[in-house]
């Protein structure tokens, strides 16, 4: 016999809402449909209830899939320039050298100058932009967790030294330093851009992790672990870090969006990834010169790609925050 508990009579006092005794059941095969869920399963269910977060994740996921799959069908080669045409199809008076507006053949139009297909540029640009965004954020999270964890767990002069360093890095306008270091040390390679963003992007995360460690190390379960003789390393990795993980995951997710936007700006200025490699920032780089001749589609579509990606990540991050860290408000 299958019967679920009804919450109307939690104390079992047999009031008006109580479950009536079932004849013949005798109580011995009284089954209750209770599934025990672990922390991550609970979070996952909470996440699925957040409509915007699910929408954002699907949006982001489809962009990732497009970035992986589509370049195989629309390969981009910097040195392969399409044969120029004089006029845009269907507009005999137009100059194709300033780019052709979106058409069936070129859904996002063509670029001014070399007349590349904007769709191909956008689709191929997604790869590097996403890799840099995700790679730099993950790397920064690792550094931030290490520095913040050490500072928060050990305290004392180590904490003081590390946090003063974090203070300094946070009081510099970050974009200024990123621009200089990308230009001076980047050399146009996307790997070094990831390093630059990671090495300059960790201080905020370190401060977050430190504050989490500061509260967690005073918790009773840490004290209990220490009392039975658990070593520092095990306390940090088994007892404290898992509890500090949720806010760190949220912050790292949101920082992916920030890195993508900043990298686009750095590359747009020509200080980031080499122009021979397609990124969204590089796609926008050339677009500016053709705005005065009325080419609006070239700057529009790479930018929209950034906006949708960032929007997806922000929705996802908000959902993650609600699911993993329900106590935080903002």
């Amino acid at each position: 016999m299958d019967q679920t508990l009804r919450p109307t009579d939690p104390l079992g006092t047999g009031g008006p809402g109580a479950i009536p005794p079932v004849d013949g059941a005798g109580g011995e095969d009284f089954e209750v449909n209770l599934v025990s869920l672990n922390q991550w399963q609970i979070a996952w269910r909470r996440f699925l209830r957040h409509k915007l977060a699910v929408f954002g994740s699907l949006l982001f996921l489809s962009i990732v899939v497009a970035a992986i799959v589509l370049p195989f069908f629309f390969p981009f080669d910097f040195y392969k320039v399409p044969t120029p045409v004089a006029h845009c199809p269907g507009a005999p008076k137009s100059l194709a050298s300033s780019g052709c507006p979106p058409s069936l053949e070129h859904p996002f139009g063509t670029t001014g100058g070399l007349q590349r297909d904007v769709f191909t540029v956008v689709v191929n640009g997604a790869r590097l932009s996403l890799v840099i965004g995700v790679g730099a954020s993950l790397f920064a999270a690792v550094i931030g967790a290490a520095v913040g964890g050490i500072a928060g767990y050990f305290g004392g002069w180590i904490d003081n030294l590390l946090m003063r360093f974090v203070d300094v890095l946070l009081s510099l306008p970050l974009l200024f330093v990123i621009l200089v270091v990308s230009k001076f040390l980047g050399g146009g390679s996307w790997v070094s851009i990831i390093f630059v963003f990671a090495f300059l992007g960790w201080p905020g995360l370190a401060r977050l992790v430190r504050s989490l460690f500061l509260t967690l190390r005073e918790e009773v379960f840490v004290e209990a672990a220490r009392a039975v003789g658990v070593g520092d390393r095990r306390i940090i990795f088994r007892h404290i870090l898992p509890n500090a993980l949720s806010p760190l995951i949220v912050a790292t997710t949101l920082s992916v969006a920030g890195v993508i936007v900043t990298e686009a700006f750095v590359s747009f200025l020509g200080f980031g990834v080499d122009v021979t490699q397609p990124t969204w920032g590089n796609a926008l780089n050339g677009a500016v010169r053709f705005i005065p001749v009325g080419n609006w589609w070239w700057p529009l579509f790479p930018g929209l790609a950034i906006v949708f990606t960032v929007l997806g990540i922000n929705f996802m991050g908000d959902g993650l925050r609600d699911a993993l860290d329900p106590r935080s408000k903002f």
Partner: protein
């Protein structure tokens, strides 16, 4: 209170030293370093470069060089060097101050590699346009964000509140530089051409900004000068404020919602205090507290936004100068700009902290 201010000032010193170290680090990583100015000059001989290195102490160990750059190490004793130096006239009295070897602490930021002008002059010329742009944007941004956030909190779940939430999400996801590009495409490029594409003044009718001619023009025709500046400001200011308003109005909304949920607000309502008084006297003043902290912290955003906006709109400010300096490897200029902005940010944070302690009597200081 005074004690608290002094303590915060003292705490700023290590941060400022750290900033100077990182700025100096830029010199170390800049390609060519101090010798970059000779890179494209075939007539410079090795002997001349050697003389240059000896004259400017480039053969010293790096810490000594840093100390000299700072303006602390020199021929005079350590502490005296850090004092401002020179001769001053005061009521006919000649005062000789002991310190002041050239160095950053004495306002000597070096010379630009590209045009040889003193960096302090370059910054001095560029700082006013940045303040005009950033200042206008800041006032508009705070006003709009505050009004929108408070209104959305008071009318929670209204149409305005939900549209603001959507607008926040979208606004926060738009890259500032791309917004600027698209605004130019839409409103400055043909066919609309409502606003100028770039720059700060109409070159055909108005003299160059900052020259005596310009101020004469402002004196003669203040209205048309103001109009000309205004029409050039519209798009850059809009670009600069959109993302910040999206972020801030959300922040202010949640601060106001917090305040409206407090017990004393319920008590006030229960007592029959008019809703208007509850909102403006009881809730709003408490919602101001987190806002005050944010105002100082966001000065850093403002400069970052200024770099982006000035580049897109060719606004002749510090941000654009910075980008040009990076492009030309003009490290003295970019070190100078970095130092000036970082110092402004540090002091803005300090002012915000002190203001917070002033506004919120619960903060312990002493």
């Amino acid at each position: 209170m005074g004690k608290y201010v002094v303590r915060r000032l003292l705490q700023a010193i290590p941060v400022l030293i750290g900033i100077s170290l990182i700025t100096y680090f830029i010199l170390l990583i800049s390609p060519g370093g101090p010798y970059a100015r000779f890179a494209n000059n075939p007539r410079i001989t090795a002997a001349q470069i050697e003389a240059f290195a000896a004259r400017w102490g480039l053969n010293d160990p790096i810490p000594i060089q840093y100390c000299k750059w700072l303006g602390v190490c020199g021929e005079k004793p350590f502490l005296i060097n850090a004092l401002p130096g020179g001769t001053f006239e005061f009521n006919g009295l000649k005062i000789e101050l002991p310190g002041g070897d050239n160095g950053m602490l004495h306002g000597d930021l070096g010379y630009s590699i590209t045009d040889g002008r003193p960096v302090a002059d370059v910054i001095g010329q560029r700082i006013l346009p940045t303040f005009i742009l950033a200042g206008t944007a800041y006032v508009i941004w705070l006003t709009v964000a505050f009004l929108a956030g408070v209104y959305a909190a008071v009318k929670r779940y209204s149409l305005f509140d939900s549209s603001l939430t959507v607008a926040n999400y979208v606004g926060y996801s738009i890259p500032t530089f791309w917004l600027g590009i698209m605004l130019i495409t839409a409103f400055a490029a043909p066919p609309l051409k409502w606003f100028p594409v770039s720059g700060m003044w109409t070159t055909r009718t108005v003299p160059t900004f900052g020259t005596p001619d310009y101020w004469a023009f402002v004196g003669a025709q203040p209205l048309s000068a103001l109009y000309d500046l205004g029409i050039h400001l519209v798009l850059p200011v809009f670009t600069l404020v959109v993302v910040s308003i999206a972020y801030d109005s959300r922040f202010i909304r949640s601060a106001m919602l917090d305040a409206l949920n407090q017990d004393f607000v319920k008590t006030a309502r229960a007592k029959g205090v008019p809703e208007r008084t509850v909102i403006f006297r009881h809730a709003l003043r408490n919602a101001l507290l987190p806002v005050v902290t944010n105002i100082g912290l966001e000065i850093s955003f403002l400069f970052t936004g200024a770099i982006v906006t000035e580049t897109i709109f060719s606004w002749p400010g510090m941000g654009r100068q910075f980008i040009q300096a990076v492009d030309n490897f003009d490290y003295p200029v970019l070190m100078g700009i970095l130092l000036v902005t970082a110092v402004i940010v540090v002091f803005a944070n300090l002012v915000a902290d002190v203001a917070y302690a002033f506004v919120d009597p619960r903060v312990q200081y002493g």
